[in-house]
């Protein structure tokens, strides 16, 4: 048993990481599906999209051969419409609400249709928005993730000059560094960021980290307003013995490496345990398997009833051959010569409902042990609590607290996205960016 990289051939990697939501291969296929859409009024799908894309309208526009119009309908509500069409957990959003579900029929493939229209826009670089002449107003945005870029695009459309400060060397945030490689490719993320910034009036300065080589005071001084879209930080510690053994890694770092270094350079164990049952845990487990791990076991403290991931995501893990052990809480990672040998888990049972309304797991006192050589921790992420304290921004366990105008407790400093909600989806961050921009325009008196 060992943790090694380069387990598979190039072809195998490519096959394993092939797009999980493949595009329609041709116009006919897209139009057949588009024609199934009933063109609902006050459509449930639109209401269930956090950015409120006018779904029936953009689908209808595919059937009328007005693909430019269709892409515009999508982007006007969601400038990450292309990325969202690949990464949104649609089964709990638009497609989950499609009226076809009520007929016990497959819902309209909204995401794939959205991908059809937006891919054409990106391929042909259709610039569908005209930026208003510069107002001379300047806004600083920290974080080039979905929240920051969405905010930037709305501001730029209105003639505001935007500068984005990003700590990494690439834009896109977790879209680029977090999301599973079988949903988006690095090239796609780069193209999407370029497409968004092509409107003009948006400059991204890379390798600029707030709290390190960048200060909030300077931003406040040099800009008319500041927007913080910095997302959430590193994985939560498990606080169990053995966590520092070689072979215990955090899911975000593991996924970051897959996206950053390429498949063959990411080492993975023979037998891998993944702790947690959120989207990140699923992504870590499925990608460990796809990198060539022989056995992947997911352990979760509660049951399927309480799991944070969707049924659809769980099925991806199951189809990939990941084992799932419910009601198992990690107790200790055991090692030999500093390397992981096994994971000891407590057997849990469900007790009374907790604050979140979910029945909380209680230790039965029994334990079992899993032979593993790698443990991936995906038990949740932690917001930047230290940084918030340093910047004197009111927060709840690191999550920034904002008012109904997206403003923090510091005047002229706005925030949104994962940094505020603690970690939701790309589409939520995009919506936050939009409302943040509207609030800033109001604050600047240019709306």
């Amino acid at each position: 048993m060992a943790i090694v990289d380069n387990r598979l051939s190039k072809e195998q990697y490519e096959q394993n990481f092939a797009n999980i939501r493949p595009p329609f291969e041709n116009k006919t296929a897209a139009v057949v599906e588009a024609n199934r859409c009933l063109f609902c009024y006050d459509a449930p799908c639109t209401k269930s999209c956090p950015t409120h894309i006018d779904v029936p309208k953009f689908i209808k526009q595919i059937t009328t051969d007005n693909i430019k119009g269709s892409a515009h309908t999508i982007f006007v509500s969601n400038i990450f419409g292309a990325g969202c069409s690949k990464v949104c957990p649609v089964e709990k959003l638009c497609e989950g609400a499609c009226v076809y579900n009520l007929l016990e029929e497959e819902p309209i493939q909204i995401a794939r249709l959205q991908q059809y229209a937006t891919a054409k826009a990106l391929e042909n670089n259709w610039q569908l928005f005209q930026r208003k002449p510069s107002l001379g107003t300047k806004v600083a945005i920290v974080g080039a993730g979905p929240a920051g870029l969405s905010c930037a695009h709305v501001l730029s459309r209105e003639g505001v000059d935007v500068t984005i400060f990003e700590k990494e060397a690439k834009g896109g945030g977790l879209m680029t560094y977090g999301i599973a490689a079988y949903k988006v490719t690095p090239q796609f993320c780069e193209d999407e960021v370029n497409y968004i910034t092509a409107i003009g009036g948006i400059e991204i300065k890379y390798n600029q980290e707030l709290g390190k080589n960048l200060s909030l005071a300077d931003l406040q001084k040099n800009y008319d307003a500041v927007y913080l879209g910095i997302g959430v930080g590193i994985a939560r510690n498990l606080d169990i013995p053995g966590e520092d053994l070689e072979g215990v890694v955090d899911a975000i770092g593991f996924i970051y490496d897959i996206r950053d270094k390429g498949y063959s350079s990411v080492p993975v164990g023979d037998k891998v345990a993944v702790i947690g049952m959120g989207m990140t845990a699923i992504d870590a487990a499925t990608q460990a398997k796809r990198l060539g791990a022989k056995e992947v076991t997911m352990v979760y403290r509660r049951t399927q009833e309480e799991m944070p991931c969707t049924e659809f995501e769980l099925n991806i893990a199951k189809l990939d051959g990941c084992e799932i052990i419910w009601l198992a809480a990690p107790k200790e990672v055991k090692g030999e010569t500093g390397k992981v040998k096994s994971l000891v888990c407590s057997v849990m049972k469900l007790g009374e409902p907790d604050a979140s309304g979910r029945r909380s797991p209680v230790d039965t006192g029994e334990t079992f042990s899993l032979e593993v050589d790698m443990v991936i921790k995906a038990a949740g992420q932690v917001p930047f609590e230290g940084l918030m304290e340093e910047l004197k921004i009111q927060n709840s366990k690191g999550k920034m607290v904002i008012d109904e105008n997206c403003s923090t407790n510091i005047k002229g400093v706005f925030a949104g996205g994962d940094a505020v909600n603690g970690g939701k989806e790309v589409v939520d961050a995009v919506e936050d960016g939009k409302s943040g921009a509207m609030a800033i325009l109001e604050y600047l008196g240019v709306a």
């Binding site: 024609n35 009933l38 009024y41 006050d42 449930p44 799908c45 609400a97």
Partner: protein, 422 residues
């Protein structure tokens, strides 16, 4: 099992389905395939003087992803040599004695030509003749086809010539490119035509190509008006059929119904409105001869369900129900009802009634599903919502008579009853 065999002017066929005069009936090869597949008979592609066709020839109207809701063509009569057609017809008549063989004719516009063509046709042993007075393109410019059918007097003259020579039944096929098919229909019946058939194709432009800016079908940068047929024309054909079935001159002869028939249900509707049999073209051009199976089986099952033993039990049965507006019962009223268990909350009924009817549907906001209910006092019973609802039987119309007795418009006015009830 019901008996679906048919007799039209004494011409027998095992079912009431004939193939209309068109490409599917233009040579022995197709016609054999058709009769082997089970078609009751054929009306052979129109014969006349030798002509030449152009390329391309067809165009279509698609609707919401469904191909060929309507078909348009600029073809002329048969472009194959007359003697070859006649020889093939003779062979078929011999080989398939239980099927109907009607030959469609369009001779040059003089007595001798008609007499000669009829003689040659009868020599083949064919059972009947159909006069093509309907073709709306190409032949009209030569004073034939629709030119004849559009003018009752010319039509009368030609039928008189025909009847001088014909010894087998003669059916006159009417053109729909007139304000009413009745005048020509009367005229040819008076001149001796033994039966009528309708409709031929309707003049049309199916669309314009948005790249070349030339209408379809395209012929070297130009186009012409073409004849429209297929499912799109069925409602027009049914209306024209009914006027022929209601007129007391034309309803004395049997009618062969044509125009947009694709399913057994369409066929039943034609029979109910007075056709004794039906002819099909576009549906076969779209799907091939194999559709005959369901055309027969569906008809048979329906007749069994309704207790009809033969076609004559229901031919023309719906004709008297098409009346004049003044005779409708104003006291009849029905109101839409939404079955909340079936409703999928698509809102289509709401937006249609709100924007285009009578603002009679209430929207109660919900996330993500709104609740829609009918405002009983407001609903005029127009049917719009029911027509649009995507769920089978979700919206039903419930009878709420204004008063028990029959009351028509004339009587209503006489009594000076109030007008603006909505």
């Amino acid at each position: 099992m019901a008996n679906i065999s048919s007799s039209f002017l004494g011409i027998k066929s095992p079912n009431p389905y004939w193939l209309a005069s068109a490409p599917p009936t233009d040579k022995i090869y197709n016609v054999k395939r058709a009769l082997d597949a089970g078609w009751g008979g054929v009306v052979w592609k129109t014969l006349g003087s030798q002509i030449k066709n152009v390329s391309s020839r067809y165009s279509a109207v698609d609707y919401n992803g469904t191909k060929v809701m309507g078909l348009n063509n600029i073809e002329l009569i048969s472009d194959r040599p007359l003697h070859l057609n006649l020889q093939e017809i003779r062979e078929i008549v011999k080989e398939y004695p239980d099927r109907a063989m009607i030959v469609s004719l369009m001779a040059d516009n003089n007595r001798e030509s008609w007499h000669e063509l009829i003689k040659q046709t009868e020599d083949t042993g064919a059972h009947g003749i159909e006069l093509n007075f309907g073709c709306p393109h190409g032949m009209t410019e030569r004073g034939m086809g629709a030119t004849v059918g559009q003018d009752p007097e010319i039509a009368c003259t030609v039928v008189e010539w025909v009847m001088e020579a014909a010894t087998i039944p003669v059916i006159t096929k009417l053109t729909p490119n007139v304000h009413s098919v009745v005048p020509t229909g009367r005229s040819v019946v008076k001149a001796g035509s033994n039966g009528l058939s309708l409709i031929n194709t309707i003049q049309s432009v199916t669309g314009v190509d948005l790249d070349t800016l030339v209408p379809n079908p395209y012929v070297a940068g130009k186009s012409v008006f073409g004849g429209y047929c297929g499912p799109a024309v069925k409602p027009i054909a049914l209306k024209m059929l009914t006027t022929i079935a209601q007129d007391d001159v034309t309803n004395k002869v049997p009618i062969s119904g044509i125009g947009g028939i694709s399913t057994w249900k369409d066929a039943v509707e034609f029979l109910l409105l007075g056709a004794s049999n039906v002819q099909v073209c576009t549906a076969v051009m779209k799907h091939g001869f194999r559709i005959i199976d369901d055309l027969c089986e569906g008809l048979n099952n329906w007749m069994d369900e309704k207790g009809f033993k033969t076609l004559n039990d229901f031919i023309g049965k719906s004709v008297p129900t098409l009346t004049h507006w003044e005779d409708l019962d104003i006291n009849y009223h029905h109101i839409a009802k939404i079955n909340q268990d079936k409703c999928i909350h698509c809102g289509l009924c709401y937006i249609a009634c709100e924007d285009a009817a009578h603002q009679s549907i209430n929207l109660e906001y919900g996330k993500p599903y709104n609740t829609y209910t009918v405002k009983v006092e407001e609903c005029v019973g127009c049917n719009l919502c029911k027509l649009l609802c995507p769920v089978d039987n979700c919206i039903t119309m419930e009878e709420h008579r204004v008063a028990p007795e029959y009351l028509n418009w004339t009587e209503f006015q006489k009594r000076g009853l109030p007008l603006n009830d909505h």
